[in-house]
């Protein structure tokens, strides 16, 4: 008997397979027929875009790995060989490098969508948490991947970030030695980073599967944040969203292609085209743009807090910035999901977004530089301000808003027109059934 609760599909070979391993009926139910809210906007495309980017990164990564040499004497030259001698090597390399950038562009948009529309709230807390796990794995993968070309930024970025772990009391230095496999970033470090960089994307893939399974348990959120009430509120995923996702993906890939072919080094650091020189520190060490906000937070803790030294404080703050995302569902207890109906939260969302952009800007600059000529405001001061605001937003603002904000009245359903519809009353707090 088939294991699933539906009848096996198809006839002939498809049915034979499906009776024994219900992949086809599973796909039919979870992808073709899956009821999705019909009011998605284009921000809902990014899950599919992310899946495509993950596959692209894995495929380009595998063919690149066939040519790359993970040895400090050979790595830089092997990348240049890929660029010059391997058929289409330049294309594979640029797709992989720019693919990382576009992967992060997509993931940040995807996350901000979640924050705006309350997609992290009940019953989707675990979905959100799995997403943050994916983000962490992506960051680790990207960090290790950037080391592999063995350019100046590869080496020095690795040196700075691995050195951070020495801030951990008692065991810090031993941990760093363990990470390095030696007494500095060197061949053993490069080799193990290559092994792990190859491995992690498959871990990401596994967590993505869990992420999608969790999504299918609760169903998708939607821009109104209001649960679908019936078939009038939804459409089957296929063909409506397969079509829309294809269109959105094509547009995203068009922008991606423009950069790959016409501005392939726009997002990169020119200094990484110089081979790693362990005796020669570059004037400015910067990570890739998608790490800049976290780098800014790290560098903003320049003062000791009680017994915690500044260096350790910076490390703690940087990891806290990510870990605060894990507990977001419990920081924001507002029963209203979508910022569409949260007039105060909406403003603070945009301020938070600007704050992240400001953090990114700060991360790319030298802390002691002046922001404006003639004004004694340093980049570091802006770093303090924006770091403070980041944590203020999560730890103080969101919990307070959850208690004190008066949301707008929610529509009865997705299909019901919002204007002129019979909403529950002008001063509505959400009806219990809409409560997150």
């Amino acid at each position: 008997m088939s294991a699933g609760n539906q009848q096996p599909v198809g006839n002939g070979l498809v049915k034979w397979i499906d009776t024994r391993l219900p992949v086809f009926s599973y796909l039919q139910k979870e992808y073709a027929e899956f009821q999705s809210p019909k009011n998605f906007n284009w921000f809902w495309n990014f899950g599919a875009i992310l899946t495509f980017m993950l596959v692209l990164m894995i495929v380009t990564g595998i063919v690149l790995a066939m040519q790359y040499q993970p040895n400090t004497n050979l790595a830089f030259d092997s990348v240049e060989r890929i660029m010059r001698d391997v058929n289409f090597g330049w294309l594979l390399r640029y797709m992989h490098a720019n693919g990382a950038t576009f992967f992060f562009i997509a993931v940040y948009i995807h996350m901000f969508r979640g924050m705006y529309y309350g997609s992290y709230k009940n019953p989707r807390e675990l979905l959100w948490i799995l997403g943050v796990v994916i983000l962490l794995l992506m960051m680790a993968t990207a960090f290790m991947g950037y080391v592999l070309p063995w350019g100046q930024m590869s080496f020095w970025g690795a040196t700075v970030i691995t050195n951070l772990f020495s801030a951990i009391p008692l065991v810090g230095d031993s941990i760093v030695t363990l990470l390095w496999g030696g007494f500095s970033v060197d061949n053993p470090t490069l080799n193990r980073f290559f092994a792990l960089h190859y491995l992690f994307p498959f871990l990401i893939f596994g967590v993505v599967v869990l992420h999608v399974v969790a999504l299918h348990v609760s169903g998708s959120n939607n821009p109104l944040g209001v649960d679908p009430k019936g078939p009038q509120d939804t459409v089957p995923f296929h063909p409506y969203y397969t079509m829309k996702d294809s269109a959105g993906l094509a547009i995203f890939v068009t922008v991606f292609a423009f950069f790959v072919f016409f501005a392939p080094n726009f997002f990169g650091e020119p200094e990484n085209y110089l081979e790693a020189a362990p005796l020669n520190t570059p004037a400015h060490i910067v990570p890739e743009w998608y790490f800049l906000p976290f780098f800014a937070i790290l560098r903003s803790i320049t003062f000791d807090v009680w017994f915690i030294e500044a260096k350790l404080g910076g490390v703690i703050a940087m990891f806290a910035a990510i870990f605060v995302l894990f507990v977001l569902p419990w920081l924001d207890k507002s029963p209203v999901r979508s910022a569409k109906f949260r007039p105060v939260y909406k403003w603070f969302f945009w301020i938070f977004l600007l704050d992240c952009i400001l953090l990114g800007w700060v991360g790319g600059k030298t802390p002691d530089d002046l922001v404006f000529d003639g004004l004694s405001l340093k980049v570091l001061h802006l770093g303090w301000l924006s770091t403070f605001w980041y944590f203020f937003h999560f730890l103080i603002l969101l919990p307070l808003l959850g208690i004190f904000e008066r949301p707008k009245p929610l529509p009865k359903s997705i299909s019901e027109p919002v204007l002129g519809g019979g909403s529950a009353g002008a001063s509505a707090t959400a009806k219990p059934m809409e409560k997150a």
């Binding site: 240049e80 269109a247 094509a250 423009f258 004037a283 743009w289 945009w350 977004l353 790319g364």
Partner: protein
């Protein structure tokens, strides 16, 4: 309903502003270095190509002026076919340089003339020898220099033509040279280009400006030999994708026409 509502438009603008701000933070040389002037290059833009005549002259400048100190390790002699040299010409160019090969049957290393499949021969066997011959400074490999500095070709050109007299009262340290565009202004490399320093095979007058332009064109090709193929392919791919996006978007609109959303 429009594609992008007011709020989402703000999001897009904020995003691009962010990117621009973050990118412009790849800021310029510290110290008193002048920012290089923006020049127009034949290879710039979507339809940019290599100026082969200039790049061939640039090869001559590299071989006669730069190769005494600077290697070009990532380029092989056979790559010069891209610049329009024939196989015979390449063999002649290559054979002018000696490569260490071996071991032979007696177990010894030996010298032999370079062949097209060899990479450009380096002037020094290793970095230590290079430093020893150059007052402790290592003349960097030139293959990727155009990609390795913000400002790219503009910067390299400015650097090569930037050996001006220092402002009155500036003390130039021993072993350094004043350059208006170099970070900190004091560069170890002495002025490399002088009027008529090279006698061009095609008769072009060898002004400093000309030689700088030619060698930069050559270095740009050396740094990105795939550029022309990349831009050509890119044009076709992006046009294809624009059409595909349009078709898929039209399909989406059609499919969703009777759905109230």
């Amino acid at each position: 309903m429009g594609i992008v509502s007011n709020m989402r438009r703000t999001a897009a603008v904020a995003g691009f502003a962010a990117l621009a701000a973050v990118m412009s933070s790849a800021a310029f040389a510290a110290g008193d270095a002048k920012a290089p002037e923006d020049r127009d290059w034949h290879f710039e833009g979507i339809f940019g190509t290599v100026d082969r005549a200039s790049a061939q002259r640039g090869l001559q400048v590299y071989l006669e002026v730069c190769a005494g100190c600077h290697s070009l390790k990532q380029v092989a002699y056979r790559n010069l076919a891209d610049l329009g040299f024939t196989e015979a010409e390449i063999k002649v160019i290559a054979s002018g340089f000696d490569v260490t090969d071996g071991p032979n049957d007696e177990g010894e290393m030996f010298e032999r003339p370079a062949i097209p499949s060899d990479r450009f021969v380096s002037p020094f066997p290793n970095e230590e020898a290079a430093k020893a011959a150059n007052n402790g400074a290592n003349p960097p490999d030139l293959t990727l220099q155009v990609k390795a500095h913000p400002g790219g070709a503009d910067y390299i050109h400015a650097l090569l033509t930037g050996y001006v007299d220092p402002p009155a009262g500036t003390e130039v340290p021993e072993g350094s040279n004043y350059n208006a565009y170099f970070a900190g202004n004091f560069i170890a490399m002495p002025q490399p280009l002088f009027e008529d320093g090279v006698e061009y095979a095609d008769g072009t007058p060898a002004t400093i400006e000309q030689m700088a332009t030619d060698v930069v064109n050559f270095m740009q090709w050396a740094a990105e030999p795939e550029m022309e193929q990349r831009k050509k392919t890119g044009f076709k791919v992006v046009i294809f994708l624009i059409i595909l996006s349009a078709i898929l978007y039209a399909g989406k609109r059609k499919m969703w026409a009777n759905v109230d959303h």
